[in-house]
């Protein structure tokens, strides 16, 4: 009786052990590559949202409270060829329809959005995923202050909502607004030297 329990238990245990060992090996191979990918995506996106920048400063991380919700963010300084500060690139978090959206926003020293990219987005294909199209992202360029969402058309302070994906549009706008808010209130806005 005892043997009948012992043998299956031991064999199952050995299988688990081998599986974990194997996974550990594969993980050690792929881990660096995965981390590298994330860094690479971020580097590439920085150049897209702040096309004028030549180099970027060190990454600064922190937490910011916007509309009563605390969320993590990070930013880097964007520098031109003479190492003058021309703006900041922020990475902020908001929640869309299908989960977390990580937005990268470029903000120039005069407080205007220079470009928007989504580092992580998982919305409905055909609706919310249209946010990744250039026609949507380009609407943000040149806007400042607090950006609203308009269901019919884009205005000087609002972006046009994606058809059937108001939640995604609002989440995207919120990501950008958090970046602008950090620029204004944490980094001191235009008064910043």
């Amino acid at each position: 009786m005892k043997k009948a329990i012992l043998i299956p238990t031991i064999s199952l245990f050995i299988i688990c052990l081998c599986a974990t060992f194997l996974l550990g090996i594969v993980n050690s191979v792929t881990e660096d590559k995965i981390a590298q990918n994330a860094v690479q995506t971020e580097m590439d996106s920085r150049k897209v949202v702040m096309a004028d920048a030549v180099s970027f400063g060190d990454k600064v991380e922190g937490n910011h409270t916007y509309e009563g919700v605390d969320s993590p963010y990070s930013y880097v300084e964007a520098l031109d060829a003479n190492s003058n500060l021309i703006g900041y690139v922020f990475v902020t978090q908001s929640t869309g329809y299908g989960g977390a959206i990580s937005t990268m926003t470029g903000v120039s020293t005069d407080g205007k959005v220079t470009g928007v990219e989504f580092l992580q987005i998982n919305e409905t294909v055909g609706l919310g995923m249209n946010a990744t199209k250039d026609s949507f992202k380009d609407q943000f360029k040149g806007l400042s202050g607090v950006i609203g969402v308009n269901k019919n058309e884009s205005t000087e302070t609002e972006v046009k909502a994606l058809t059937g994906a108001t939640i995604t549009t609002k989440a995207a706008a919120k990501g950008v607004n958090i970046a602008l808010d950090i620029y204004e209130n944490v980094l001191g806005g235009e008064n910043n030297g």
Partner: protein, 204 residues
């Protein structure tokens, strides 16, 4: 938004707008296989709700443990084993201590181990609610499991009704059986699209 309002909005989101079966396609096998009769549909969904809740309650702290040791990559294998073991354990315990409950739900339990809705809810909870391990996040995770389970039940029960109507219809020969069931599912899912935008405007 206050915390309690947020919990209610999570619940409604998962029942109506992000219904597991009809918009996320999780748990399609039982949806098509066990929805022929209303009572089996009810029993199956009740068992799913039960298993979803207990597996979330157990896997959430386990994930924190994995994060602590830097072993996040083991999540899939750990979660599926925990769910499988849990289901077995609950089945045995139910049989012994609560025979009436076992007769009502127990028979569905073995099927649930390989139900992607259960593993799906556990993985999605980690994805969307973060894993900072606070009690607030745990509450959110439990609420989304409850919502996912209730949404599963709603879809199953509604669809059992739709199918009973289909039985008496004169269907073209080439659509008989599974094809027409899928087309009916498509229409049911279409009706759920109407809920999009409901939750965010409810508390606005």
């Amino acid at each position: 938004m206050s915390y309690s309002k947020e919990l209610i909005s999570i619940l409604i989101t998962y029942i109506l707008t992000q219904n597991f079966i009809l918009s996320k396609f999780l748990g399609i096998c039982p949806f098509l296989g066990v929805s022929k009769k209303l009572n089996t549909a009810m029993g199956m969904s009740a068992a799913v709700i039960f298993v979803m809740l207990i597996s979330t309650a157990i896997t959430y702290p386990i994930y924190n443990l994995l994060v602590h040791f830097g072993l996040e990559y083991l999540e899939t294998i750990v979660f599926i084993l925990v769910i499988a073991a849990l289901v077995q354990l609950v089945e045995t315990a139910m049989k012994k201590f609560m025979p009436p409950l076992y007769n009502a739900l127990g028979i569905y339990l073995p099927l649930i181990t390989t139900n992607c809705a259960v593993l799906g809810v556990v993985l999605l909870n980690i994805d969307t609610n973060g894993y900072s391990g606070t009690m607030e996040n745990f509450g959110r995770a439990m609420m989304s499991s409850l919502g996912a389970g209730l949404g599963f039940m709603l879809a199953m029960v509604m669809f059992a009704g739709v199918r009973s109507r289909l039985e008496s219809c004169d269907i073209p020969k080439f659509l008989k059986g599974l094809p027409i069931t899928l087309v009916a599912a498509s229409l049911t899912s279409l009706s759920f699209l109407g809920f999009a935008g409901l939750v965010e405007n409810m508390f606005a």
